[in-house]
Each structure stands twice: as C-alpha cells, then as structure tokens.
C-alpha cells in the first residue's frame, strides 16, 4: 500500500493555499508505490500528485526535486514539481516533507513492444544527457557497501549455495576497474512500472526517488534486464537493439562501455536479487507489501554469468 499517512481534505486545502493552483476539488489516495504516500489532487487549476515522503532526508529530497525540475526544463516527459509561492518545491504536511508534482496521463505497460523499448532507451539517454545540469549529488545507497551488508544479513537465512553465489558475485564486481566508465545521474529503478504510455506514446518517466550519481552503463543494464528480456531471462534481440540504438542516439556510447556491459548486467541483476531476498526474508513491520520473486533475478544473474558474450550480440551494429 502507499497511503501510509492519511491527510484530511481540509489539511490539503490549506496546504494548497501556498501554491497558485486554485482550489481543491478532489483528493484520492493512490494504491501504488512502496515507500511514499501519494494522493491524486484535482484543483480548479489542474491535476497533480501530492507526495508525502516517509523516509528520505530533506537533502535527498532536494536532489530528487532538482533532478525532476531539470529534466522537465529540458523537455523530458516527467512529473514537474510545482513551485510554491515562496519559490521552493519542498514543503511540509502532516509532519512530513511533501511536494506537489504534475500528474501525467498514461499508464504502465507489462508487455513492451520494440517501439516502446526504443522510447524508453531514448528517454534514458536523455536523462543521462540532461543529468549533467544537476548540481546536487547523491550517492547510490544500493551500491557495493549495501550489497555486502545485505549479503551478510542474509547469510544463514538463505541456502548456502545462494550465499556462495552472492559472495562470488560481490567479489567479481569488486575486482572490476570501472574508473573509465562514464558517470552521472542515473534513475536507478527504471522498470516497466515507472514509465507511462498513452496510445503508444511515452508520456512520462516517473519515480525518481532512487536516483543517484553512479555509472551510466549500470542504469542501461537495469533497463535491459527488465525491458528487453524474454520470460526465461534471455534477451529479446529486437527489443534490446532498439533500446540501445535509441539510447546511443541521445547519449553516445563510450569506448570502454561495450566491454563492460556483461559485468554491468550482472551488477544490475545482483542488486535487485539482493533487495528482493532482503524484502522476502526481512519484511518491514506493518506493511502490506507485494513481495516480488527473488528467483527471477537469481535466474538472470546465473544466465548473465554463464553467457557473458550474449550481451555483445544485442549491441546495435
């Protein structure tokens, strides 16, 4: 569920007085999302999403909001944060940090076409290109230190062969030299549920609340492992090639990235395997969570390890 914090109509109406968006007409809790409380807000001036942030520090929220503003400034389809009368984006409601953002049309899809993968690849390339204009920085809180912490926490709870594979993969990743790979702002969670389409047209990239500064190719790998695979975890060549070609059209591929792609695909699988294992074995108290199957990313990781050359076949000519 995503409405952790209930707010009353009168409180939201008062909150909106500091914005030039007109009067509150309707307020609806949104049942999606995992970490924040979201409401659809309809006013006489437009349609918005109100988010109450449940766990992030203000300094992180300022990063996410600067990123979303910058992306929207440069024309990316994403929810623009609405500026309050005082010129800021981050305010407080119900004792939580809160922001009002544009509500976009469209909905997430589950079976992407080649054209939709191209649209997402283009959008990711634009995010990486526009990200150069973001001044704030944020570390990846799901990086190698978190991998090690999480694998240790799971040891003894998960089977020994799982722990062994986690240790082996963390060691493999630690031995890589990634210093020559381009870095910048990454979305870090650009799965199918975070892109909206309306009549086949990409209308919005959403949920920037995992964004951080990290290796750009890692973000590409996260997407390839979700958008461009067959049910068995192998790549769908047509979708993968369309994704990568559209990506490179917006953020040109660097020389060292081709050779690094197989390892980044493994890193991306490792990261989501770990978080799914952790959520399964250590569910957060009081949450009605939709636990996602960790074995999905275990299969992907094992497949990427077994066939490292497979990634080279999906690169566009």
């Amino acid at each position: 569920m995503s409405v952790y914090t209930r707010v009353e109509t009168a409180d939201v109406a008062a909150f909106l007085k500091d914005y030039a968006v007109g009067d509150l007409l309707d307020l609806q809790g949104i049942a999606d999302g995992i970490e924040n409380t979201n409401y659809f807000v309809t006013t006489s001036g437009g349609r918005f999403v109100l988010t109450l942030f449940e766990r992030h520090a203000d300094v992180e929220l300022e990063y996410f909001l600067e990123l979303m503003v910058t992306l929207a400034d440069h024309g990316l389809a994403c929810p623009r944060p609405i500026m309050a009368d005082d010129g800021g984006y981050l305010r407080r409601l119900a004792e939580r940090p809160a922001a009002l953002v544009e509500r976009l049309s469209g909905r997430a899809i589950t079976e992407p076409t080649v054209e939709q993968c191209a649209a997402v690849g283009g959008a990711l390339g634009r995010i990486h290109r526009i990200g150069r204009h973001v001044h704030r920085r944020r570390a990846n809180e799901r990086g190698p230190a978190w991998w090690r912490f999480t694998a240790d926490a799971l040891a003894g709870t998960v089977p020994a062969d799982v722990s062994a594979l986690l240790d082996q993969e963390i060691a493999f990743q630690a031995a890589l030299d990634t210093t020559r790979l381009p870095r910048g702002v990454i979305h870090a969670d650009l799965f199918r549920d975070n892109v909206l389409f309306d009549n086949g047209r990409l209308t919005g990239v959403i949920d920037f609340y995992a964004a951080c500064n990290d290796i750009l190719l890692y973000d590409v790998a996260i997407c390839l492992n979700d958008w461009c695979i067959a049910p068995d975890g192998d790549f769908d060549d047509a979708r993968a090639r369309a994704f990568l070609a559209a990506y490179a059209g917006n953020r040109p591929w660097a020389a060292d990235e081709t050779a690094a792609l197989p390892a980044m695909l493994r890193a991306a699988a490792l990261r989501f395997w770990l978080s799914r294992l952790y959520d399964l074995h250590f569910p957060r108290a009081g949450e009605i969570t939709h636990v996602k199957d960790p074995a999905h990313f275990e299969r992907i990781l094992r497949r990427r390890i077994a066939a490292p050359g497979r990634a080279l076949a999906i690169l566009p000519d």
Copy 2:
C-alpha cells in the same frame, strides 16, 4: 498565414541538436497566428512547437519566455519553453530569434460555457498572482500613447463621427486616476482563440506575445468583453459572474477595482477597436490577413459608454 519564414527539415534537425529532445520525426507548418512563424515539431522525445519570431526584439522575447517559464513553474497550464543545453531558451534559426515550447493538447472553443468561463477566470487570476515572480518588465505597447498615434493615423480615413468618438474616449481615459489600481503582468490578449480545452478541461493558455506590465483590471476587462458577452455585446450574467468569482478566488479584488471596472471595459473595447480599424485601413503589405470586423468593438464601446452601471450587475455578490 503564419508561416512567414520557411525552414527546411535538415535545418530544424540541426537546430534540435542543442536540445535534449531526441531526433526530429515530423515538421508541420501551423496556419494559425498572425505575427510569428510556427511549426509543430515531433521528435522521438515528445511534441513541441517551434516559433520563429518575426518582429520582437530579444529583450521582449526574454520577457515573454521568463513569463511562460514562471507560469509553468507554478503549475499554470501553458506552453513551457524548453531549455537548450546551454541553459537558455532563446536561440536563432533562419536568421530569426527562435524558441521551442511544449505542445499542449486541446483546441480553442468559440461558444464558452459558464464552466469554461470560470476556468478562464481562474487561469487569469493565477497568471496575475504568479506574475509577481517575474523580474523582467515590459511596457504595454498598445497603451494610451499608441491609442493617440493610431487615432491620429485614422483621422480623415474613418468617418468623422468615428474620429470624434475615438477622441472623446481617449480624453475620457486620460482623465481617469488609475494610480490606485493594482498593476502587474497581464496577458493582454486572452481571447477565445488563446485558450485550449480538451474534453471540457482547460489544458492551456497560449500566445503570451502581447504580455506586459499594466493594470490587472484592464486584463479582466479584455476577457469580460470577449468571453462573457452575448452576440449583441451585452454581458451574459451567468458567464460574467462565474468568470469574476473564479478570478477573485485566485487574485482577490481590490477596493478601488469595482468602481473602475466600467472605465476599464471601455479602455479594453477602445484598444481592440483601434487595432482592428488600423488593420482594416492600413493592411500590412504581403500578408494574407483575416481582417476582423472593427464594428464589433465599436458596438461594445458604445454599449459600455451608454450603460456604465451594467458592469456592476455582473459582479459576484
């Protein structure tokens, strides 16, 4: 016509390289508009309008663009200018200043409902409220000095009774004390062709290229004279009251504005009567213009002069 300047696909594709909007897919000239050249631009990243400015100085264009950016920042539905890679909004194409803005859905309506008039009144109130955050300033180039210039230019061309009424109205306006009326950023041309609706919902206020700093009530009067009248020029009470109530909900009415409304309605009628007379009698060479009937605003002006108390009846209780 509005495509004064033809641009080639290759030139626009090159122009777009300085934006993070993807590759050009389609380019279509737009047949609306009077003063600028407009193209619909579809890219792999979205849908935009490209405007080549035919007559404004850069300092004026910077004002319009700052205004549109500020309005969009605060959540008003209007075409957001897209930021180029260098952080600017104003660039050059075909030896003209040019800007890329968001393309909105919806279309203009000719027969507004009470609800649509309320939506426009609310939007105008929000424009006036948000306008306080605009730092640049621009004088009204269609103000009293231009009224006098234009009436003098028309003298001898238009009938003597028309010249006499123009002179009389200019003198009446000159004698008014407007120093206590709130001023700020006004749209100055918020006619029915400059508001888009989609399924009854206001999706955009467009064409900010007459915006300037002037009396806010004058902007209200321009709208009342267009959105809230019956075919004979008299007010439609329901639409006018809905417009004014929604307006005041966003930008509260000041004490002196009620008494000044009849005179501002006359000023607004005078201004558009003058420009229509001028366009009729001094058409610009080489333009295929849709000359609008000046007599429409002559009738409105005469009606507003004859029944100054009528305006008080349309004020909400």
